[in-house]
């Protein structure tokens, strides 16, 4: 601690310059009539609690248990996913890609941070970070290694760089030992990273 900045227990003394700038920005935009504070709170609440990877897990588990839905998802992911009510922004145009022993899919956005918010919620920090965005296209096997996955040379890695408004959802392989499981129970095995391609679905414990 610098002697020039005496410590205060008051929380407000810990506000960063950015906190102060953004508070000023919000009050300015509210006073100008461009946004409403309650709507800001509502957007945050929706993305913190209501739109997240459970949506995607539902899509994946349904595709594991209903072959017709799985076919629809491969042919027209937009219609199949919208039919479940997952129509929120950053999910207007969807493509689903299914992992197999032959091909492993990995999704990135090298130019910004395009991500299927409608089915996965807000992207994790690593997805938006320069290490991932730079490396995923030139060294996807290295990225997978960073996540603890070492694929055999005989499995093709197919990377999808989200350069348009199309959003990619990876359908991980269904774990062994889950025969007869309900879609609901299967959904509990579908972790967020498995739908980006940086993980497998969880094994039944």
């Amino acid at each position: 601690m610098s002697h020039d900045h005496p410590h205060h227990d008051d929380d407000h003394s810990h506000l960063s310059e950015m906190d102060i700038r953004i508070r000023a920005l919000e009050s300015l935009l509210v006073e100008k009539g461009y946004i409403e504070t309650a709507a800001v709170d509502e957007v945050i609440q929706i993305y913190e609690t209501r739109i997240g990877p459970r949506n995607g897990a539902h899509v994946v588990a349904k595709s594991w248990t209903e072959p017709d839905f799985a076919n629809w998802l491969m042919e027209d992911a937009t219609a199949a996913i919208h039919s479940l009510g997952y129509t929120s922004r950053q999910g207007e145009h969807m493509v689903a890609v299914a992992n197999s022993d032959q091909t492993h899919h990995l999704v990135v956005c090298t130019l910004c941070s395009c991500y299927p918010w409608s089915v996965l919620g807000l992207p994790p920090t690593w997805y938006k970070s320069p290490p991932f965005r730079s490396k995923a296209v030139i060294d996807p096997r290295g990225v997978l290694h960073d996540f603890g996955i070492d694929l055999p040379e005989t499995t093709a890695v197919e990377v999808h760089d989200s350069t348009a408004e199309t959003r990619y959802l990876v359908i991980p392989q269904r774990p062994a030992g889950t025969d007869g499981w309900s879609a609901e129970k299967l959904a509990s095995l579908v972790n967020r990273n498995s739908m980006i391609g940086t993980a497998f679905a969880d094994n039944p414990s």
């Binding site: 461009y34 290490p131 960073d146």
Partner: protein, 220 residues
């Protein structure tokens, strides 16, 4: 543009590290920025491509050093200023000094959920011609380095690939991000082998797909 945002293929950032706990936000101001940017979309003072361009035109050193939501905040402030929705003095003080600009709409709390689900961000448009390329066709990407917004990244220019999907007739960001209107074009998924992009040392099975518009492509 060959800016700080065009990261594909850069090296030296180190491993991808997943943080424990994985909070969406790392400071009190970050969720406010996320939500304000989402809500400002309803004013229709800019489109998504212009907002991406506002971020990628940050000086490369700033783009790489700023946190993600800092980049969003800087981009939003640039747009607010350029649309004369706020002034520099107002941004400094947080106090209103000039009348507000005309906006399309302000979302109220009760409208947020429906607005987020309205598919208002759909980028497809009524088709006015037929696709020039078909699935399976060999194409090359153009070798162009425009100063403005483009969705053809540096690493995929002047490369040979194959059309793997016809995705629809979509707003062309290389136009709309440069204030030149939607100018919709056919959008394709194009597959490039890892060896074509990165040389013979790569696994011959590996590939990268990009979603590219017809003006990015020529027959090969």
């Amino acid at each position: 543009m060959n800016g700080g945002a065009d990261l594909g293929g850069m090296q030296g950032f180190g491993p991808v590290i997943e943080e424990p706990g994985e909070a969406h936000f790392h400071a009190e101001w970050e969720p406010r920025v996320m939500a304000m940017v989402v809500l400002l979309g309803a004013t229709e003072k800019w489109n998504i491509d212009q907002s991406r361009h506002a971020r990628e035109t940050l000086p490369p050193a700033d783009y790489l050093r700023f946190s993600y939501y800092r980049i969003w905040a800087e981009g939003a402030q640039k747009l607010l200023l350029s649309r004369e929705m706020v002034t520099e003095t107002e941004l400094q003080s947080g106090k209103v000094e000039t009348p507000p600009a005309m906006i399309k709409a302000r979302l109220e709390k009760q409208q947020v959920w429906d607005a987020l689900h309205s598919l208002g961000g759909a980028a497809d448009r009524l088709e006015t011609d037929t696709p020039a390329f078909e699935v399976g066709q060999q194409v090359s990407t153009v070798n162009d380095h425009p100063l403005g917004h483009t969705r053809l990244p540096r690493y995929a220019r002047a490369k040979r690939g194959v059309i793997t999907k016809i995705l629809g007739f979509h707003v062309f960001p290389d136009s709309s991000g440069n204030d030149k209107g939607d100018d919709p074009r056919w959008l394709y998924q194009v597959k490039f082998s890892a060896q074509e992009l990165w040389g013979p040392g790569k696994n011959p099975r590996d590939c990268v797909t990009l979603d590219l518009w017809e003006p990015h492509l020529v027959r090969s």
